[in-house]
Amino acid sequence: METIISIKPLIAVLVSICAVPLLILSKRSNIRETWTFVAAGAKFLIIISMLPAILNGNQIVYTLAEVVPGAAIKFRVDPLGMLFALVASSLWILTSAYSIGYMRKLKEHSQTRYFCFFALALSATIGVAFAANLLTLYLFYEMLSLATYPLVTHHQDKEGRASGRKYLTYILGTSIGLLLPAMIISYNVAGTLEFANQGFLAGTCSKGLVTMLLVFFIFGFAKAAIMPFHGWLPAAMVAPTPVSALLHAVAVVKVGVFSIVRVLTGVFGIELLSTLDLGLVICVAASFTIIVASLIALTQDNLKRLLAFSTIGQLSYIVLGVGLLSPKGMTGGILHIAMHAFGKITLFFCAGAIFVATGKRNISEMVGIGKRMPLTMAAFFIASLSIIGLPPTGGFWSKWYLVLGSLEAHQIAVLVVLLTSSLLNAAYFMPVVYKAFFCTPEESMFEDKVQEAPAFCLVPLMITAFVTVMFFFYPQPFFRLATMVVKGITGG
Amino acid sequence: MVILTGALLIYAMGDFPSWADPASPAHNHVSPRYIEKSLEQTSVPNIVTAVLADYRGYDTMFETTVVFAAGVVCFFLLRIPRKDEPTVRRYRHTLTGMTIRVKETRQIPPVLEEFERIDTLWAPHDLIIKTCCRILVPFLQLFGLYVIAHGHHSPGGGFQGGVILGASMILLAISHDLRTAIGRMSERVHAILCPVGVFIYAGTGALCMVLGLNFLDYGALAGILHVDPVTARSHGILIVEIGVGLAVMATMIWIYNNISSKGKYDEGL
C-alpha cells in the first residue's frame, strides 16, 4: 500500500472541462461531437491507466491548493473512487453516442450548450469520485448541481422551469442548509476534513452530535434521493432522455449515494457507527425509501417516471448495504453502484429509443411494441432482470451480497425488505415486458413490422445490455475493487 | 433617542476634567510642545498657523480639498449649460429706471453704462447700495490680502482671507447682479483658480517630496529659497496660505454663483 503522487487525477477531472471551449468554438456539429468523443475517450483512458496501480493496492494523490488550513483541494484515487469513476467515464462514451442520435433525431435546440454542460457534469462527477476530502467533494458536488441545471431544464418550457426550480430547491437547499453546516461543524470538532479509512470523527464528539451530523449528512446529500428528499428526481425526468439516463441513473444520483458511502466510511468510520449502533438509523431510512418508492413505482404509467421511482428504491439498496456495516453487505452495496448503473442506463436508453422511434411515453401505449422494436425490448428485459436481481445478470451478485450481508448482520427485517422489494421490482417491470411481447395482434398498437430507433441510439443500449449479462459471468474487476474497499475500511 | 444620546454624553461628562483646567491631559501631552517649540522650529509666532499649516499641514491640505470638492459638487449638481437664451431681452435705463424690451432678432443697442440687462421686471434697483458696495469692495479685498499675508503674526491666514476676498465678490453680486460679478470674474476663471489654489498647496508638498524630503516637509525648500530650513518653513507656510486663500475665494464665489442662480448664471438673486 504505497502512495503515488501523480497529476493524472487532475487531468482526468479537467479533460472534459478543457473540451468545453473546443465545443463552443467548433462550427459544425460533426466537429463538435468528435470533440465530445475525444474528450470522453481520453477521460476513460486516463482512468483505465490508473486502474492497475489501484488494483495493486496503491493509491494516487494529487494536491491542487491548500485553501483552508487542514482542507486542501486534493484528489485521491482509491478503489471506491476508481470503481465509481470507471462506471461514470465508460458510460459517458456510450451516452455521448446515444445523445447524438437522440438529439439529432428530435432536432433539439441549442445542442452546443447541451454538450458543454454535459462535459462539465462529467468533470464534476469524476471530481467527486476522486475527492480526497470533504471540501473537495462538496466543491464538485455543488458544481454538478449547477452544471446539470441547464440540462434538466433543457426544453426551457413551463414544465422545465417548474422542475428546474424543484431540482435546485431540493439540491441547493439541502447542500447549503444541511451539508455546509455539518461540514463546518465536523471541521471544527476534528480539525480536518481528510477522508480516513477509519473516519476522523471517532472520539472527537458526543453521540448526540454524531447522530445529528449523520442525519445532516444523509439527508444533506439530497442527490441520493432518500425520502423525504426524493421529490426532485421524478420531476427531473422532463429532461431529454440521455440526460435522465446518464445523470439521473448514473452521475447525479450515484454521486449522491457515493458521497454518502464516502462520508459514512471516511468521515464517521465503521467502528464509530457500529459502536454507537447508528447503522440502524441508516437502515431504517433506506428500507423505508426502498419499499415506498417501489410501491409508488407500481402506480406509474409514464415509463420514465416509473424508472425514476425504481431508481430511488435502488439507490437506497446501496445506502442500506453500507448501513448494514457488515463486510458482505458493504461489498453488495458498492457492487450495486456499478451493477445498477449499467442496468438502469440500459432501461433509460430503451425508454428514450422508444420515444425517438414512436413518440410514446406511457406504458399503456406500448402494448405490443416488442414486435416493433424487438432488440430494444430484449435489452429492456435483460436490464430489468438485472434490476430485479435475477441471474444471468450482474444485478444478481450485488443483490446476493446484500442478502448475505443482512444475514451476516442478523438483520432479518432488512432481509425481508430486500425480498419484498425484489418482488415489487418484478411486479412493476414484468408487465411492461409482458405487454410488449405477448399480446394478440388485435390489441397490439403497432403494425407488425420491425422498425428500430436509429443506430446511434440502438447500439449503445445493446452494448450496455450485453455488459450487464457479462457482469454475471465476469464480475471482475468491480468485484475485486469492492472487496478491496471493504478490506480497507474494515481494516480487515 | 435624542434624550438617550444626551444622557450618554452627560453621563460621560462625569469623568471630564473640569473646564479650562490647565492640568487636564489635553493640555499636557501634545500641545505644550507646539507652544514651546513652534517659534524656533518654524519661526512663526502664530502657533495656530504653525500647527495648521505645518505640523498638521496635511489635514489642512485635505481641508482645502474638501472646499474644492464642495465647489465641484455644486457645479456638478446644479450647473445648467446655457442653451435656451430667451428670445426677448430686457434692458433697464439705470437713471430713469425705464425698461426696454429688445427682440433677439433686432440689433441690440450698445450696452452703455446706464443700460443694464435684467431678466425679471421686479429686479431691484438701488443706486445708493450699488455705489456704496462698489466703493467698499476694493477695501474689502485689500483687507483680505492683508489677512492672508499677515497670518504668521496675527490671527488670520488663508481661510479667513480667502473668505473675505470671496465675500467681496459676492457682495458685488448681491448689490448689483450676478452678471456684473461674472463680468468681473468669469466662471471659467474661478473654476480654474479653485483647483489651482489647491494645486499650489499640494504641489508645494510634492515639490518637497521631489527635493528628497517627506511630503510637505517645507525644510526641503531651503535649497531653492536660499534660506535656512527654519525660515524656509515659514516661507513654505506663506506659499500654502496663498494657495488656500485662492482656493477658498474661488470656491466661495463658485458655490454662490451656482446656488443663487440655480446654475443658470443669470442675474441671480
Binding site: I73, D157 | Y11, H29, F62, N214, Y218
Partner: protein
C-alpha cells in the same frame, strides 16, 4: 521612490483630480486617460506597499517630517495594505469598465465627474492609510461629500435619496468626530498608536467608554449597519450605475475597515471585548441585520434595490464576524472585506452593463439576457455564485470562516443567520437567472431560433467584468495563502480562539 509609496498613493490621485478639473475646461478627451494613469500609479504603489509590508511588518511615513504624535503619520500594516490593494483594484477596474456609460450619462460634465471620482478614491485610500484619528475624519468627509455629489446625479429620485444620505452621513461623521474629541480630552493625543499606548491606564474611565460607543455608532451609521441602514438602499439604487458600482463595493467595506481599525488598533482588543454585553448585543444586531437584509431583498422588485439589501446583509456578516471576538470570526470578517468588495463589484458591473444596453434594471428587463448578453450574464452568475457561497468562489471561504467563528463562539444565532441568508441569496439570484434564461421561449418547446439576438455590451465593459469574475475564483483558490501571509499577522494574539 519606494519609501514615498504611502504618500504617492494618495497624492497622485489628488493632484490628477485637480489637473482633470483644470483640463476639463480645455479639452474633455484628456480626463479619462489622466484618471486611468493616476489610479494605475496608486495601484502600483499599493501593491508595492503590500509586498514591503510582508517583510517589514509596519511602515511609517511622517508627513511634513514631524514625528508623531506632533505631526501626522501614515502607518501601513498588513490590514491597511490589503484594503489598499482592494480599493485601488476595484477603483481602477470600475473606472475602465464604466467609461462608456459615463460618457453616455454625463456628456458635458465629464471633467467634474472624473474629478469627483478621483477625489473619492483619494479619500478612501487616505482613510485606509492614515494613522491619525482626526485626519481620518477629514478624509471621511471628502469621501462623503464627493459621494453625495456623485450619487445625486442619478435618476430623478436620486437628489432626495442623496440628501437623506447627507443627513445620516453627517450625523455619523460628527459622532466620530465627537468620539475623537472625547479621546483627545482624556488622552491629549490624536495619533492612533499613541492613543492606544496611553489608554490602558484609562480603561475604566467613563469618557473612554463613551468615546468608544460614540465612534462605533458613528461608523455604523456610515456603513449602514442595521438599524441605521435606512439611507443606503435608495441612495445606491438611484445613483448612476457607474457610481453605484463604485460606492457599493467600497464605501461600506472601508467603513468596516475603520471599525476594525478602531477595535484592534485604537481601542485594543483587551478593551473592545472586555464588555461582553456590548459585543454580544452587536452580534445579535448583526444577526437581525443579516436576516432583515435577506428578507427585504426578497421583497425588492428590481435588481439594484435587491443588491443594495444584499449589501446590507453582507455588512451584517462582517460586523458580526468582527465582534465574535475570536480569530476565526475576525479572519472571516477581514477576508470578507476583500471578497465582498470583489463580488459586489462583479454583480454591480454586470447590472451596469445591462443598464447600459437596455436602459433599465427591473426584473422584466432581463428577459432573454442569456442570449442577448451572454458574457455579462456569465459575470453576473459568477458574482451570484460567490454571493451564495458556492466553492471555489471566494464567497464560500469567507463564509466558511465566519460560520466556524460563530460555532467556536457559540453564537448559533449568527450561524443560523448566515446559512439562512445564503439560502435566500440562492433564491434571489436564481430568480434572476431563471428570468434571463427562460423568458424568450414561450409555450412552443423552444425549438428553432429565438427572437432575441445577441447584443453584448462594448468590450471595455465586458473585459473588466470577466476579469473580476475570474478574480473571484482566483481569490477562492488562493484563500489559504492570503490568510497565512496577510491576515494571520493582522490579528493580535490577544484575540484567542
Amino acid at each position: 521612490m519606494s519609501q514615498h509609496y504611502p504618500a504617492l498613493l494618495v497624492i497622485v490621485p489628488l493632484l490628477s483630480a485637480l489637473l482633470i478639473s483644470i483640463v476639463g475646461w480645455l479639452n474633455k478627451r484628456f480626463c479619462f486617460p489622466i484618471a486611468v494613469a493616476a489610479l494605475s500609479v496608486s495601484l502600483y504603489s499599493s501593491v508595492g506597499l503590500l509586498l514591503r509590508v510582508m517583510d517589514e511588518k509596519v511602515i511609517l511615513y511622517f508627513l511634513g517630517g514631524w514625528d508623531p504624535p506632533w505631526g501626522i503619520a501614515y502607518s501601513v500594516d498588513h490590514l491597511s495594505a490589503l484594503v489598499l490593494v482592494v480599493v485601488s483594484v476595484v477603483a481602477l477596474l470600475n473606472l475602465i469598465a464604466t467609461q462608456k456609460s459615463v460618457e453616455q450619462e454625463f456628456s458635458e460634465k465629464i471633467g467634474a465627474f472624473y474629478t469627483l471620482y478621483l477625489l473619492l478614491i483619494t479619500g478612501l485610500l487616505g482613510i485606509v492609510v492614515t494613522g491619525d484619528a482626526f485626519n481620518l475624519y477629514v478624509l471621511l468627509e471628502i469621501t462623503a461629500l464627493t459621494g453625495y455629489g456623485l450619487i445625486a446625479m442619478g435618476e430623478d429620485r436620486a437628489p432626495l435619496a442623496s440628501l437623506n444620505y447627507v443627513y445620516m452621513g453627517t450625523i455619523g461623521a460628527c459622532f466620530y468626530l465627537l468620539g475623537i474629541g472625547y479621546l483627545y480630552i482624556s488622552t491629549g493625543s490624536l495619533n492612533m498608536t499613541n492613543i492606544s499606548s496611553i489608554l490602558p491606564g484609562l480603561y475604566d474611565s467613563k469618557v473612554v467608554l463613551a468615546a468608544f460607543i460614540i465612534c462605533i455608532v458613528g461608523v455604523f451609521l456610515k456603513m449602514a449597519f442595521f438599524p441605521l441602514h435606512a439611507w443606503l438602499p435608495n441612495a445606491y439604487t438611484y445613483a448612476p450605475s457607474a457610481v453605484s458600482s463604485l460606492v457599493a463595493p467600497l464605501m461600506t467595506k472601508v467603513m468596516i475597515y475603520v471599525m476594525i481599525r478602531l477595535m484592534l488598533t485604537v481601542f485594543t482588543p483587551a478593551f473592545t471585548f472586555s464588555n461582553l454585553a456590548l459585543s454580544n448585543s452587536v452580534v445579535w444586531l448583526a444577526v437581525i441585520a443579516i436576516s432583515m437584509g435577506a428578507v427585504l431583498a426578497l421583497g425588492a422588485r428590481d435588481m439594484k434595490k435587491m443588491l443594495c439589501y444584499v449589501v446590507i446583509a453582507e455588512v451584517g456578516y462582517m460586523v458580526g464576524g468582527a465582534w465574535l471576538g475570536n480569530r476565526a470570526g475576525m479572519t472571516g470578517a477581514i477576508l470578507h472585506i476583500a471578497n465582498d468588495a470583489l463580488m459586489t463589484l462583479c454583480v454591480f458591473l454586470a447590472v451596469g452593463n445591462i443598464v447600459y444596453k437596455v436602459r433599465g434594471y427591473a426584473f422584466e428587463d432581463l428577459k432573454g439576457m442569456f442570449r442577448k448578453m451572454p458574457y455579462t450574464m456569465t459575470g453576473l452568475v459568477a458574482g451570484a455564485l460567490s454571493m451564495i457561497g458556492v466553492p471555489p468562489t471566494c464567497g464560500f471561504f469567507s463564509k466558511w470562516y465566519l460560520i466556524s467563528g460563530g460555532i467556536q463562539a457559540g453564537q448559533y444565532g449568527f450561524v443560523a443567520a448566515l446559512v439562512f441568508s445564503s439560502l435566500i441569496n440562492a433564491v434571489l439570484f436564481f430568480r434572476i437567472i431563471e428570468i434571463g434564461y427562460y423568458e424568450p421561449f414561450g409555450a412552443d418547446h423552444g425549438h428553432g431560433s429565438s427572437p432575441v439576438r445577441m447584443a453584448e455590451a462594448p468590450l471595455t465593459m465586458v473585459v473588466p467584468l470577466l476579469i473580476v469574475a475570474g478574480g473571484l475564483v482566483m481569490m477562492g483558490v488562493y484563500t489559504g495563502d492570503i490568510i497565512t501571509h496577510i491576515i494571520e499577522p493582522i490579528i493580535p494574539p490577544a484575540i484567542g480562539n
